[in-house]
């Protein structure tokens, strides 16, 4: 065996460089095979991209077709007699006075005058047609424009979610009455309203300005949207400076030794830790040890900052490493101190790369649910948070909660919320691209 091997090498050694003509022939003969390999690679590449685009289009199609109706809902138009005595008994437009008022009854009377229910039972059913937020709506209207008092004005009220589902055709007339969520009497009322031209399908004024609600027709995402915004702001304010500072220290200042090596390995490991672990850590440290309140965007942002830090550090280090050493040499060469080299040259040149990493981290944080569940941002919170210490929730958690609810209408609202989340993400990425383009100096 060894002998053969030796012989083989000997043979090879004896072979000289082949003459040019022969070489040309060999190259010519192999070219067809090589070309076909090239084109096959191209084909595979295109097929892969085509497949990815197909999936993406399908995803967008399904989300938009499902979510688009979520931005709309059915309304009923009623003539409301704005009687000040009944709506605002104390006459001072205070919340107290409006609460004592009888706005719901006025709405119901107006409704009854159209559909004419007979008896207590029918009236009880009829009352449920209009969403329970009717008195709040009237209170808001008179607060905005007290001139309405004494007039009879047409006002649009959201219909109850079951009625909405019926009008959308999710609840079918043909289904036996016993298996339907609304009975024949109610269907009769709706038909009457329809005949009168009172029912309209319009852009929902709850979805973008409302907050979490048990009534799906009144549920909106503003609370979650603001919560997301606050949480991400906290996350960015903590993670970006910390991440950049860490990266600068590790790349520019720290000596390369065992300790920095260990730190480096651990940062890379942290990037792979499941996000829910960060949630548990946040729960243990921020809430249990420091006694911070649950469900607040401040704690949420801090937990997400811990989660995004490794991403920011790793990409910032890569960006810093990509700064040409000649620039550092030039700055050191004319006597710039370390700090001056870092702040005048390294950071500005690395900024576009750092921002890219930060935006990727932020996008991750925006879509994160698990760690926030751990620190209680999953609570049912109706009030829209005004600051980072007000309880709140975030978009993905809101989606998670809505997807869990039984009412049919929440399905559309969930899809609508997903569209808003995607929109948020795209806006963030667009901002990142814009910032990159602006900061990137191609000199």
């Amino acid at each position: 065996m060894l002998c053969m091997l030796l012989k083989n090498t000997e043979n090879n050694m004896n072979k000289k460089i082949i003459n040019p003509e022969e070489a040309t022939n060999i190259v010519k003969n192999s070219i067809v095979k090589r070309r076909s390999k090239d084109s096959r690679l191209k084909l595979f590449g295109r097929a892969a991209i085509g497949l990815a685009v197909c999936f993406l289009l399908f995803l967008f199609y399904s989300i938009f077709t499902k979510g688009y109706p979520g931005f709309f809902q059915y309304y009923v138009t009623l003539d409301i007699n704005f009687d000040r005595e009944r709506i605002d008994p104390k006459g001072d437009l205070s919340d107290n006075s409006l609460f004592d008022g009888d706005a719901s009854a006025i709405v119901n009377e107006s409704l009854f005058s159209i559909i004419e229910p007979k008896g207590r039972k029918e009236k009880k059913l009829a009352k449920k047609i209009v969403s329970s937020g009717k008195d709040v709506r009237i209170a808001k209207m008179v607060k905005d424009d007290p001139g309405l008092f004494g007039t009879v004005t047409q006002v649009k009220f959201a219909l109850d979610d079951d009625i909405d589902s019926f009008l959308r055709g999710y609840i079918k007339r043909e289904t036996p009455e016993s298996e339907r969520r609304i009975n024949d009497k109610v269907i009769g009322f709706i038909d009457k309203l329809n005949e009168e031209g009172r029912i309209s399908y319009e852009f929902s004024d709850y979805i973008l300005s409302g907050s979490a609600s048990g009534n799906p027709e009144m549920a909106g995402i503003k609370g979650a949207f603001i919560g997301s915004l606050l949480t991400l702001s906290v996350c960015l304010l903590i993670a970006f400076p910390l991440g950049v500072a860490t990266a600068v220290y590790l790349e520019e200042i720290a000596k390369k030794n065992r300790i920095t090596e260990i730190i480096e390995v651990n940062i890379n490991n942290l990037a792979a830790v499941p996000s829910v672990v960060f949630g548990i850590m946040g729960l243990a440290i921020f809430i249990s040890i420091f006694g911070m309140p649950r469900s607040i965007p401040l704690v949420g942002g801090m937990v997400l900052a811990l989660m995004t830090l490794p991403t920011i550090i790793i990409s910032s280090r890569a960006a810093i490493r990509a700064v040409p050493p000649s620039v550092r040499d030039a700055a050191y060469g004319i006597g710039a101190s370390k700090l001056q080299v870092i702040f005048h040259h390294v950071i500005p040149l690395a900024m576009p790369g750092m921002l890219t990493g930060t935006i990727i981290g932020m996008a991750q944080a925006l879509g994160e649910t698990a760690p926030l569940l751990m620190i209680g941002m999953v609570a049912f919170i109706v009030d829209i948070p005004n600051s980072v210490v007000d309880p709140g929730t975030v978009l993905p958690v809101q989606i998670f909660m809505w997807a869990d609810f039984a009412e049919r209408m929440f399905i559309q609202k969930t899809s609508a919320a997903i569209i808003v989340l995607l929109g948020f993400l795209i806006a963030m990425n667009a901002l990142a691209v814009y910032l990159r383009k602006k900061l990137e100096r191609r000199w």
Binding site: K256, V327, G335, Q340, L349
Partner: protein, 272 residues
């Protein structure tokens, strides 16, 4: 005892006149290590006031490494260890008390590859005076920039576009911009590390002419691959080989009557 013996050996090895009457920079028994590797072996040399001296030698002979010892640019390399003594005006620059920032303001440097900052031409030149606080006001700074660009022979070409990026200039212009940037902090010595190796012959000629003029005001140490260049710009020449300083002498003598046989081999093209 042993070190003394080494000293003598080194002096024996280096042929020619390593000492200078009005020395500005003095290097004494300098050894440089990269980790285990000895890059510079016991080099002793003086660099005179307002003298243009060129370091020549084959690739990897340590001439650039030695040059970078003078403004402590080797500090940025972790594994680099320097022994011996280098002094400017009899002040040891490797003394613990010496701060490297003012040192580098005194000893400017021009690099092999033109490396202007990705900033405007004006900001490139103004950067040094700004960080060292050399200008009293905006007008003064303008004057420094103008004067530096004039000395670097670049003013006429760029005076109408000072705010355009320095990296948009041609290679030769960029290198002269780098020279202007070095001049702007009023150094005493300018170190040039193969300043023309990335340039075409016309740009090279301009830089050489510039070095010639600047030689009247600054001490200039230039590392070069080109013997012709050394012959054209410098009055003194030092020949390095494998980390050792082989021969130092008047440029004319080195190129016409080298004393050491290695120098002769190099300049006649047998090694290198």
């Amino acid at each position: 005892m042993n070190s003394k013996k080494n000293d003598l050996k080194s002096l024996e090895l280096t042929v020619g006149d390593v000492f200078s009457k009005n020395a500005r920079l003095k290097a004494r028994n300098v050894n440089v290590f990269y980790g285990e590797n000895k890059a510079i072996d016991n080099v002793t040399i003086d660099i005179g006031n307002k003298e243009v001296i060129s370091f020549i030698g084959p690739s990897g002979c340590g001439k650039s490494t030695f040059l970078r010892c003078f403004n402590r640019m080797n500090d940025t390399i972790d594994s680099c260890v320097i022994q011996g003594e280098i002094s400017i005006d009899d002040e040891n620059i490797y003394d613990k008390k010496i701060d490297v920032v003012p040192l580098r303001a005194r000893i400017g440097m021009v690099f092999q590859k033109p490396n202007p900052f990705p900033k405007s031409i004006y900001d490139n030149v103004a950067y040094g005076p700004r960080i060292h606080g050399l200008s009293e006001n905006k007008e003064h700074l303008d004057n420094i920039v103008e004067e530096s660009l004039k000395r670097a022979g670049l003013w006429q070409e760029v005076s109408d576009r000072l705010s355009s990026p320095g990296t948009g200039l041609s290679g030769g212009q960029q290198q002269r911009l780098c020279i202007a940037r070095a001049i702007a902090v009023s150094p005493e010595v300018i170190l040039m590390d193969e300043p023309c190796s990335a340039l075409d012959p016309i740009a090279t000629a301009k830089i050489e002419e510039l070095i010639h003029e600047l030689g009247n005001e600054y001490s200039i140490v230039i590392v070069t691959h080109s013997m012709q260049q050394a012959a054209r710009v410098s009055k003194r020449t030092a020949y390095f080989h494998l980390g050792k300083l082989i021969e130092v002498g008047k440029t004319k003598e080195i190129f016409t009557r080298p004393k050491h046989n290695q120098t002769e081999a190099y300049i006649s093209g047998k090694i290198g």
